[in-house]
Symmetry: C2
Subunit: 245 residues, 2 copies
DNA sequence: CGGGGAATTGAGGCTTCTCAAGCTTAGTGG
DNA sequence: CCACTAAGCTTGAGAAGCCTCAATTCCCCG
């Protein structure tokens, strides 16, 4: 609740939203002001909960959050990630059905999203929401049809792309605050297998990992060992898409 | 394009949207009118495509559609399903990034969604959109942390719930127009394994399938053989969710 | 009655999981 | 300054789930 050292965390937000839509100085001022009263959430803590959390969306100033679902037997799935500059949607109408929790996966800084948003921000919010849906779809494709090796690589590239939008990544590297176990819970694997797969990737010269920093080697985008899982799919909707009659 | 036998397909739409939000007679009239100029799409045909498809959303009057992603090597993933009464969102801003195709998985009937919508419809549209996001999240949890047996069962229950909203399901049964291969592409499995798993489920008395009709046996909801996959998850966000500080 | 897609079945293999155990590293208190 | 601890990372060996590659059978339809 208290303002801490106050790094210029609002710049990530401004960078990201500014790259989604044209922002006027006025818009950036709104963001800067909002970021002046940040809220800390320590790692492993859940957002929401207790019916708390006033209305409105939040902006992630710093840190990584995850929307997670917990099974009654202890299995856990990280459904999606929220990175700096992302909007945390307010609990929707259909909330009771949702049953998802938003958890801080690392030390996190939030602030309420400016509301009502200016015209520029409004568009940025809309595009941000559209993007988050494409990330969900990508996650589905990843879990459904990719091998462990592919999942990890694809996920790393997605994180790199997303962090780049907020100016938080180098040309081929970024800070990775998650444990292998959390990554496993996101990619539908076990931490043991994530570990072994990462080793294989290092051996293949596809990436470096040491100490919370990931470096993706050039050209590794397509690197995938052996035949990847999954059948050849029926003739349904061949590569060339046909027009609706 | 031509109006065919014209079954009272608009009733499914009216039923579903009416169960999401309070609809006035005026709203239902809008729906009935819209449904008078339905559009046919034959099975296995793609929507969108060719840059066509004028603006605005569409309503599914009859049949099942799927949002699918095709990999360059032929692998296919059905990302989500669109059932009668569902809204087909218009290609979003970020469309170029999307790379998803909407395919008719069975003979399908569509019509443009009334726009601008009345107040009642507007709310129904919003709730419908929120619901479709929860279905995406559920799909992620299904693919990430469930065994084949669980995936199929959970998916069947979801379809039953959704069809029930449109009045298209019995208390424990519904018409299932998909092939096992398409189901496999949705659940991240092979058709061979789907087939074998279905046999096990029949053997367990969990369901009946014959001829495009599924019947879920009472109490099968929790039926899951043996130990289900996935590790016990770290201590992260234990079952009881903690409050944000 | 022939044809063709869909459903089944079989045998074998590979990816990923399970269950442990050992190792590393960073933080803590004496 | 250094045991001591706990979380996270590694490694091993064996088991299981799901896949691959064919065939074969079933069933709807012309």
């Amino acid at each position: 609740m208290l303002t801490r050292t106050l790094p210029a965390t609002h710049t990530s937000v401004s960078r990201r939203l500014g790259s989604l839509a044209q922002l006027a100085d006025q818009d950036r001022n709104l963001l800067r002001t909002a970021a002046e009263a940040p809220q800390t959430i320590s790692a492993m803590r859940d957002l929401v909960v207790e019916g708390q959390r006033i209305g409105g969306q939040f902006l992630v100033l710093d840190g990584w959050l995850g929307r997670t679902r917990l099974f009654s037997d202890g299995r856990r799935q990280v459904l999606s990630f929220l990175l700096p500059g992302d909007l945390i949607p307010e609990p929707a109408h259909a909330e009771p059905i949702a049953a998802t929790t938003i958890t801080a996966l690392s030390e996190t800084l939030l602030c309420p999203a400016p509301a009502p948003p200016s015209a520029g921000l409004k568009e940025a919010y809309a595009i941000s929401a559209a993007l988050s849906e494409t990330y969900l779809l990508r996650q589905i494709a990843r879990l459904g049809r990719m091998s462990a090796y592919e999942r990890i690589l694809d996920w790393l590239y997605e994180m790199h792309e997303r962090l780049s939008l907020a100016g938080l990544a180098g040309p081929d590297s970024f800070a990775m605050p998650l444990t292998q176990e959390t990554l496993a819970d996101a990619l539908g694997l076990t931490s043991v297998h994530v570990n072994r797969t990462l080793q294989a990737m290092r051996r293949d010269g596809v990436l470096e990992w040491r100490g919370g920093a990931v470096r993706l080697m050039r050209g590794s985008r397509e690197a995938v060992p052996s035949r990847s899982r999954a059948p050849a799919a029926g003739r349904l909707g061949s590569a060339l898409s046909l027009a609706a009659r």
